[in-house]
């Protein structure tokens, strides 16, 4: 593999590595505020509307949601294994772990799609067929949050799947020079997982008792 050319702004490889790591964390901080804004709006409505808002959450599919959470947590573990084996200098092991990560991500998307189809059948999709007369306006607002939040999350997940797939290809065909790339993509993947870790209880676990 050829020597990596350092950009003119860097004086050492270590400086470059530290800089791009900081850059990725700064980017993740912006994503925290991006999703966080949606979550903040959700929380305020939950406070303000109270019982009616929480009751709407009961119409989400908690079994599928739980399975999906487990899928994503496992995918994070696979991603961590990919980073760890790549650190060790491997090629085959990281590729296999990356493929597992991507496949689990796809599984999440499929389950989500199935969930959406169920919601469509039950007339819970705002702007398409939400039955306001039956469920109420507050429930429609809840489901707007549901689709916006899970939709944006799924979009981020799809981007992650593309990145992980590209990474598996690049490592497998020996096109990737040693560096921070695997670790950085790992950070992104774990972040998408963390977003779901918070979305899950807010969306699926509200109003499950009483």
């Amino acid at each position: 593999m050829a020597e990596r050319m350092l950009g003119i702004q860097y004086s050492t490889l270590a400086q470059e590595r530290e800089t791009v790591t900081l850059g990725m964390w700064a980017f993740l901080a912006t994503e925290v505020l991006f999703f966080g804004a949606l979550i903040a709006a959700y929380l305020n409505y939950r406070i303000w509307f109270g019982a009616e808002f929480i009751a709407a959450a009961k119409m989400t599919k908690v079994v599928l949601g739980t399975i999906n959470t487990a899928v994503l947590l496992t995918s994070s573990a696979c991603m961590a294994m990919a980073v760890s084996t790549r650190d060790g200098g491997g090629r085959r092991a990281p590729v296999l772990w990356l493929i597992a990560t991507a496949l689990l991500g796809l599984m999440f998307i499929v389950i989500k799609g199935y969930e959406y189809s169920l919601e469509y059948q039950e007339q819970l999709v705002p702007a398409l067929n939400f039955d306001v007369a039956r469920h109420g306006g507050v429930a429609e607002i809840f489901f707007m949050f549901y689709f916006c939040a899970t939709g944006l999350h799924a979009l981020h997940l799809l981007i992650g799947i593309c990145l992980v797939s590209w990474l598996a290809f690049a490592i497998g065909t020996d096109r990737l020079r040693p560096g921070s790339t695997t670790r950085l993509i790992g950070l992104y993947w774990h972040f998408v997982d963390i977003v779901w870790i918070f979305l899950f209880p807010l969306i699926y676990l509200a109003g499950r008792n009483g």
Binding site: G7, I8, Q9, Y10, S11, Q15, E18, T19, L22, G23, A26, F27, A29, T30, E31, L33, F34, F35, G36, A37, L38, A40, A41, N44, Y45, W48, F49, P126, A127, F130, V132, G137, V138, E140, I141, M144, F145, C148, L152
Partner: protein, 539 residues
């Protein structure tokens, strides 16, 4: 690696591709400068039409709907496409890496991407405005903007959404750059205040803009899908939109003022021939303004229906945010005290900034008082307040920086007398334009109104007269700065006798900024040793 003596970042490579695909922070700064200048004059044109309209109490220049679209256009363009990017993307991009002794920003390709996002967003918004525009005001309050307004809201909002990512990436780039690319010996407390100010600004860019992105996305969802998340039809709360919008938009005004304050902190010591008074205070006040600025947004919603408890909290916090700004003003004045003052154009703009920003800041305190705000909110008092800060403050700071670093950027000197004349003209024009608006607002003239009762006319006439003078003050630099590029005398490396690292390299700088990476051995602003002491060892 030494560049040849006559190689600068301007002539190192030629051709349009070498500019549109550049990763050189200095060239990207000039690309931004072109866009910024364009949008400034577009927004200025809207302002001109507004002031022409308001000379008489009756409608003159079209329907009320047209007037609504006019002030909306003025606000959107000036806020998002001029003020927020202005100093960070031009002078920040150009000067910051040089000030810290770096050869470029941390992520040069990301920097270029930021410019393309800015231009794309701006283009989309301009198209929306050309097609007929938007009449909601730049604040897009719901449910008017989502359910009742006609106009190209989706397009305009999408343009702003896209340009928001430009802001985020620029801020990210600056933060990481300041942390990781400082030259040997450049410790945090040796950084010029302009770097600290840009850093504080970048914190806001990175932490506040994503909230705007989500807010605009939800606005678009509501408008496109006709499902009222924030509208009463389903039981939603229009105030929640305002909370989310102002959580960004208040810190945004600190994005607009902090870089200007940074410029003033560079200009005042240089042209007073004295070190900056209270460096640590000025530095931490910049950070404090950025931090506390996140806690005050509810003062835009005192009469909107938020709980009294929240209003009290926000009122108190708004008083708090004025303190670090005031400390900075005291420090600038203390810097000038017993200094040897030179009245070059940058310093004249700095004088203007300090006086006008103080008035704007004080009137902000009036507005922070709940009882006063109930009376003057949504009147011209508010309009005058924020124009004193944004035009009297931020724009003056922009022109100060432009005139200060022009020789470094272009390698040319502009004509002294024209520059000072323009600065003084702008100062008088500004005050004549906006001081009557304080009176108007206090007397009860509402903002965003095309027609008004005849007793207000005298103040509007004075204001419009001032606007015409201000316009000349802003137009003049176009001419003499352009002239300087074509025929101005060549500038030396350090025409002002300043101490920062950027002055230790030639004008215009070589492509990689320095022939040899400087080593920093002194704190900034050592103007009190008889001869200005440059920060770098070999400077």
């Amino acid at each position: 690696m030494h560049a040849p003596r006559n190689e600068t970042y301007l002539n190192a490579t030629v051709g349009i591709r070498s500019w549109l695909l550049t990763t050189d922070h200095k060239r990207i700064a000039l690309l931004y400068f072109a866009g910024i200048t364009f949008f400034f004059f577009v927004g200025g044109m809207a302002a001109t039409l507004i002031r022409l309209e308001l000379i008489t109490p009756q409608p003159d220049l079209g329907s009320p709907d047209f007037y609504n679209r006019l002030f909306t256009m003025h606000g959107i363009i000036m806020v998002w496409f001029f003020l927020i990017p202005s100093i960070p993307t031009t002078m920040g991009n150009f000067i910051l890496p040089m000030m810290i002794g770096a050869r470029d920003l941390a992520f040069p390709r990301l920097n270029l991407t930021s410019w393309y996002l800015y231009m794309a967003g701006g283009t989309i918004t301009i198209i929306a405005l050309l097609l007929g525009g938007v009449d909601t005001g730049w604040t897009f309050y719901e449910p008017y903007s989502t359910f009742y307004a006609t106009g190209y809201i989706i397009l305009a909002v999408f343009g702003i959404f896209v340009s928001g990512f430009s802001s985020i990436l620029t801020g990210l780039n600056f933060i990481v750059t300041v942390h990781k690319l400082r030259a040997p010996g450049m410790t945090w407390y040796r950084l010029p205040v302009f770097v600290w100010s840009t850093y504080a600004t970048s914190l806001i860019l990175v932490l506040a803009t994503p909230v705007l992105a989500m807010t605009l996305l939800m606005l678009l969802a509501e408008r496109v899908l006709h499902v009222g998340i924030f509208s009463p039809q389903l039981g939603g709360d229009p105030l929640l939109f305002q909370h989310m919008f102002w959580f960004y938009s208040h810190p945004a005004v600190y994005i607009m003022i902090l870089p200007s304050m940074g410029v003033i902190s560079e200009v005042v010591p240089c042209f007073s021939s004295k070190p900056l008074f209270g460096y640590e205070f000025v530095v931490w006040c910049s950070i404090a303004i950025a931090a506390i600025g996140f806690l005050v947004w509810g003062h835009h919603m005192f009469v909107a229906g938020q709980s009294l408890y929240a209003s009290l909290a926000f009122s108190f916090l708004s008083y708090l945010v004025a303190v670090p700004s005031a400390i900075k003003v005291f420090n600038w004045i203390a810097t000038m005290h017993e200094g040897w003052i030179r009245f070059d154009a940058p310093m004249l703009y700095a004088f203007g900034f300090i006086g006008l920003f103080t008035i704007g800041g004080l009137t902000g305190l009036f507005l922070a008082a709940l009882a006063v705000d109930v009376h003057v909110t949504d009147t011209y008092f508010v309009v005058a307040h924020f124009h004193y800060i944004m035009v009297g403050g931020a724009v003056m700071g922009y022109f100060a920086g432009l005139h200060y670093w022009w020789p470094k950027i272009t390698g040319r000197l502009y004509p002294d007398y024209w520059a000072r004349f323009a600065a003084i003209l702008a100062f008088f024009g500004f005050n004549l334009t906006f001081f009557p608006q304080f009176i108007l607002g206090y007397l009860g003239m509402p903002r965003r109104y095309q027609s008004y009762p005849p007793e207000f006319q005298i103040w509007h006439v004075l204001s419009s007269a001032g606007a015409s003078i201000l316009a000349v003050g802003y137009a003049l630099p176009l001419f003499y700065l352009l002239w300087s590029i074509l025929r101005g005398p060549r500038a030396s490396a350090n025409p002002w006798g300043a101490t920062g690292l950027e002055w230790s390299t030639r004008s215009p700088p070589p492509p990689e900024n320095f022939d040899v990476t400087p080593t920093v051995i002194r704190p900034p602003y050592e103007y009190d040793r008889g001869v200005p002491c440059m920060q770098a060892k070999n400077g």
